[in-house]
Structure formats: structure tokens, C-alpha cells
Amino acid sequence: MQLKPLARSLAAALSIVVIAGCSSTGGTQDGDSYGSQDGSTTGSSTSGTGTGSQYGSSSGSGAGQQADSRIPEVRTIYFDYDRDTIKSEYESVVMAHARYLRANPSAQVVLHGHTDERGTREYNMALGERRANAVERFLNIQGVSSSQMSVVSYGEERPAVNGQDESAYSQNRRVIFNY
């Protein structure tokens, strides 16, 4: 049985529409792969434009427009082992997403929580959810409507990088802002 959810391709196409015009400038490793990877593999495909219309204000963003009309480029924040605390170095990232979501009430974000591979799978599913919930609470306190946010934990199931050392683990303990 082969499952290729249409929703997934639409989401990928949509993310291309949304990031069009936002050149990635380094940022965090994970943010890079999330954005530029989709862009480079599917090239200039715009088959998702139909659903992209609800993000009209962002897809047309250009250099002259104010920052809050664009989805912030950094879309991944990282966590310490076994913690769901948003580290101070990432507060500005979360604040930028808060500003964007407040300025664009029709924008929706899915917060993907991830863990490193250590420990049991279902328990990690719960830890990943805790991280994404922490970000959702933070955004909520910053005035973002709950109706704009949802949380999906992937636990350890979708690592960003392979490897069994702290360098790999630290890149996998993350929450991704998925628009």
C-alpha cells in the first residue's frame, strides 16, 4: 500500500510560494534545509498557487516592504537535552514569528516538535510535544491567536541529521515553524 498524501505535496508547494523572495542567508542549519531544500529540489514549481492565495501578503513580499509582512527566515530553534525551555538566544526568533503572526491574522503555523534519538520512541513523542507546546504558549503570551497555531510532535522520527554524537543530537532537538 503506497501513501503519498496530496496534502504533503501541497504543503511543499505552498512553502515554496511562501518563501519565494526570501533568500536564505545562513540562519540555522535546520532552517536552511527546511526552506532551501524544498526550493532547490522542486525548482520553480508553483503548482500550489491556488492554496497560496490566502498568504497573498507574504508571497508578494519584496525588499521594500516592512519586515512583518514576511515569514521570518529563521524557522528552527534548538533545545537543551531533556528540556523544553526556550533558550534566551532564540527568544528573538520566536518574537519575530509572533510579530509576523500578529500582523497576518490569516497566517497559520504548525509547530513541529522534535527530539534526539535517545530514549524510547513514544516517550520522545511526548517530549517533542512539550517543546512545541512551550513555543505555542510563548507565542500565545505574545498575543498570537490560538486559532493560528497547531502543534505536531514528530518525536525522534524525523531527525535533521544522522549521527550518534552531541553535535547531531543538538541539531535534532528542535521546534520548526512550519507555515
Binding site: L3, K4, R121, S150, G155
Partner: protein, 428 residues
């Protein structure tokens, strides 16, 4: 020689599609020093047959950790029936038991006669003629292994059971997941499901006909129930948040699971017939990974209510859950032994995450595995082995350790990661 009586029919299984690359091959990693020496003589007439039945029997017995088979190259003679067995020859080779047999092709398949001899007692223990319909020589071999194992150990053999497991390839956004069912020795794997979204936590129904599992195919987790033979399936739960860790009750009517629809992940029990869910735990912490006691009267689960993850037992009669584990600060994903007297779990030791056992009558925890990145222990239906996921190099592999920790084996895959094994119940 007494006549061989019982005839066993093997029906060809309803098979979907076989993916050779997903087959797992056994590597014995630790042999037990208490293993019984046994000889399994190549079956006369089996040359040229699609499978070497005696070799499969020998491998089954060795993998169990209970037996230490004699190498074929050390066999001076190769009798095929009990009347031809020279006990002195085998005694001089320190063999305690001997299996001999004959195989022949018939119009509808094959016929295999085997006999088990007690060398020191100089007697024939059992013998049987097995009729094989079609090509199911592997099934026949596992059946023979089951008979031999039970006759000698008084423990029901679990060689004819299955394992379900999940495979994963790729990284990040580009991953492919597969759910497979294979024989307990890792062979004859059949693909049950593939997806480019995660698949997790397969769990067998107690009658062995269905699998419950978690799939992210809608880009969020949901629990599905799938008939293994027909592939037909239904989505059982798709609440907001986590839908995870399904575990069938022993009567097959309920599924315990972890749902976070009301906040933190809590243990719920779903009625399979009407899909209603009843909340079991209620607190401000993570409660997940439920497992049913064999008598259905209690649930084992992981909770971090004390800070880190520990195992708790909830009695169906109600009341507070009782904490069971106190060794170390990480004990999770518990599973009961079939007799309900022990639990197997993942314990974080100073070396890493390891499979451990604890008697329910006490607090003492014994580490069983030598690997240190272990996950997902699942107990064989006869309680002799625990299969689990671990890492070999940078790959996820399945491994198994005997319940006493004396023997172990690995089931490496040709490619990709293999994880989340679930040992089936007895199927015959």
C-alpha cells in the same frame, strides 16, 4: 519403529508482496554456556529442495539460546531414521539429542518425517510426518523446531510466530517508512504499508490477525487498525495531539493508548467496537507506553510524574497507580512477561539505554543487553526471548536477548534502519 501419526497441513499464506531487501539475517552474538548439545542431521532426500529444512531447524534451535548444535562437518554419519542411529557414535561427540529425518516431494508439495532421539537415554522421544502443501518448507521447519523445543524444554516453541517492524530510510524531509511482517527469524518479510511520513508502534491483536499502529500519513499522528492478511484497515483515532502507543487488551476488545487531546499525554482505553475512549490517568505529567498484564487486570505505563520517566502499574479496580521502578532515573517502555511475573523495559544505565528485566515481586533490576542504544523491547509469546531495536554502527537493527540474558542474536537489515519490533502472539 512405531508409526508416525499426526499429519500437519500447512496452507500457503496469503501473501501480498515480498521485498527481498527487507529480509533480515540472523547473527548469533552471544551463545549460552548452558546450551544443550544437539545434532540436527541433514534430512535425507532434501538435496535440491528449495529450502534446507534441517538447517532451518538447527538455526531455530541455536537462536533460542537453549541449544548448541553440532556442526555438520563434525557428523561422521548421517542417519535418516531412528533405527539407524548408533548411540555410541553420537555420545562420543557429546551430543545429548539428535534430530534425524527424511524429506520427499509429493504431488501437492512435500512430506517430511522427523524423529527426535535422546542419546544418553538411548530412546526415541517423538516423531512425526509433516505434510507440506505448496512450497511452505520454512513453515514446516519452524513447526518441527517448535515440537523439538517443547519436547525437550517443556516450553512451547515460538519459532512459528511472526515479528512486525518498521523500516526507515533517508533523512529530514526526505524519508521513506515501511511496516513489515516477517517470520520470527527475520525471513519471508512482507510489506504491510509504506509511507513518506513516520510509521510507529505496531501492536499485534491477541489473535494475531491485526496490527494497530501509528501513522503520520495525514501529517499528524493517528492510530490505524489493519488486517494483516487482507490489508484492509480503518483509522481508529485521530484526536488533536498525540495518538500513540496502542496496546491491545488480552481479550482483543480494547486498545490502551496515549492521547494528549486534553493537554498532557494520558493513558486512555478505547473500546474497539464503538471507538469510545475512557481516560485512565489524570495528572500534569507525561503518561504513555501502556502495556496490559496477561490477565488484563492491570496496565503498565511510563510516567514522568516523579520527574524522569519511571514505570507505574495501574489496577483496573481503580486507585492510584503504583510506581514499580526505582533503579536509576530513566526506566521506560515496559512489557510484561507472558506469566505476568516479570517486566522487561528500557533502563538508562551509566553505559546507555539498555534492555533490562525486573521481577514484580521485588525491586531488583537486571540489565540484559550489551548494546547501549536500545529501544522498544517486545517479549516472545513463550517468554524466552525479548526482541528490541538497537544501533549497529550508524544503522538501526533488531536484536534479541534471552530472558535470562545468557544468549543474544542480531537481525541486521541489508539497508536502512529497522526499528520498533513487535513479536506476534502464538499463531497456531
Amino acid at each position: 519403529m512405531q508409526s508416525l501419526s499426526k499429519v500437519w497441513l500447512f496452507c500457503a499464506l496469503l501473501l501480498v508482496s515480498s521485498v527481498a531487501s527487507a529480509n533480515l539475517t540472523i547473527e548469533i552474538t552471544r551463545g549460552s554456556d548452558q546450551a544443550l548439545p544437539i545434532g540436527v542431521v541433514p534430512f535425507a532426500g532434501s538435496q535440491g529442495m528449495p529450502e534446507d529444512v534441517a538447517q532451518i531447524v538447527q538455526d531455530d534451535l541455536e537462536r533460542s539460546g537453549y541449544f548448541d548444535p553440532l556442526a555438520r562437518s563434525d557428523m561422521f554419519e548421517q542417519p535418516s531414521q531412528s533405527d539407524d542411529v548408533e548411540f555410541g557414535t553420537w555420545r562420543s561427540l557429546d551430543v545429548r539429542y539428535l534430530v534425524v529425518g527424511r524429506a520427499e516431494q509429493t504431488s501437492g508439495g512435500f512430506e517430511i518425517q522427523f524423529e527426535l532421539m535422546d542419546i544418553s537415554g538411548q530412546r526415541r522421544m517423538i516423531g512425526e510426518t509433516v505434510t507440506v502443501r505448496g512450497n511452505d518448507l520454512r513453515g514446516a521447519a519452524h513447526y518441527i523446531s517448535d515440537q523439538i523445543f517443547e519436547e525437550i524444554t517443556d516450553i512451547r516453541g515460538a519459532f512459528s510466530t511472526k515479528i512486525a517492524y518498521v523500516t526507515a530510510q533517508g533523512i529530514g524531509d526526505n524519508m521513506q517508512f515501511g511496516l513489515y511482517v516477517a517470520d520470527a527469524d527475520g525471513r519471508r518479510s512482507e510489506q504491510v504499508l509504506t509511507s513518506d511520513e513516520p510509521i510507529m508502534s505496531p501492536a499485534w491483536s491477541p489473535d494475531g490477525t491485526k496490527l494497530a499502529y501509528v501513522s503520520f500519513e495525514t501529517e499528524r499522528p493517528a492510530i490505524y487498525i489493519q488486517d494483516v492478511a487482507t490489508g484492509q484497515r480503518v483509522m481508529a483515532t485521530s484526536f488533536d495531539g498525540i495518538n500513540g502507543a496502542p496496546a491491545w487488551s488480552p481479550d482483543g476488545r480494547r486498545i490502551a493508548m496515549s492521547l494528549s487531546k486534553d493537554g498532557q499525554p494520558e493513558i486512555y482505553i478505547m473500546d474497539v467496537a464503538n471507538r469510545s475512549v475512557e481516560r485512565i490517568t489524570n495528572n500534569n505529567s507525561i503518561d504513555t507506553e501502556p502495556a496490559w498484564a496477561p490477565d488484563g487486570r492491570s496496565l503498565l505505563f511510563t510516567s514522568d510524574r516523579s520527574g524522569g520517566p519511571q514505570l507505574y502499574q495501574y489496577s483496573m479496580g481503580g486507585g492510584d497507580a503504583e510506581r514499580l521502578t526505582f533503579t536509576g532515573n530513566y526506566n521506560a517502555r515496559g512489557r510484561y512477561s507472558p506469566d505476568g511475573e516479570q517486566i522487561f523495559l528500557i533502563h538508562r544505565s551509566s553505559r546507555g539505554y539498555q534492555v533490562a528485566r525486573q521481577d514484580l515481586s521485588g525491586d531488583r533490576l537486571v540489565v540484559l543487553s550489551e548494546s547501549t542504544r536500545d529501544e522498544s523491547p517486545s517479549v516472545a509469546p513463550n517468554g524466552t526471548m525479548v526482541i528490541f531495536a538497537t544501533q549497529q554502527g550508524n544503522s538501526g537493527v533488531l536484536s534479541a536477548v534471552s530472558a535470562d540474558g545468557r544468549s543474544s542474536f542480531r537481525l541486521p537489515s541489508a539497508q536502512g534502519d529497522v526499528r520498533d519490533p513487535a513479536w506476534s502472539p502464538f499463531l497456531n
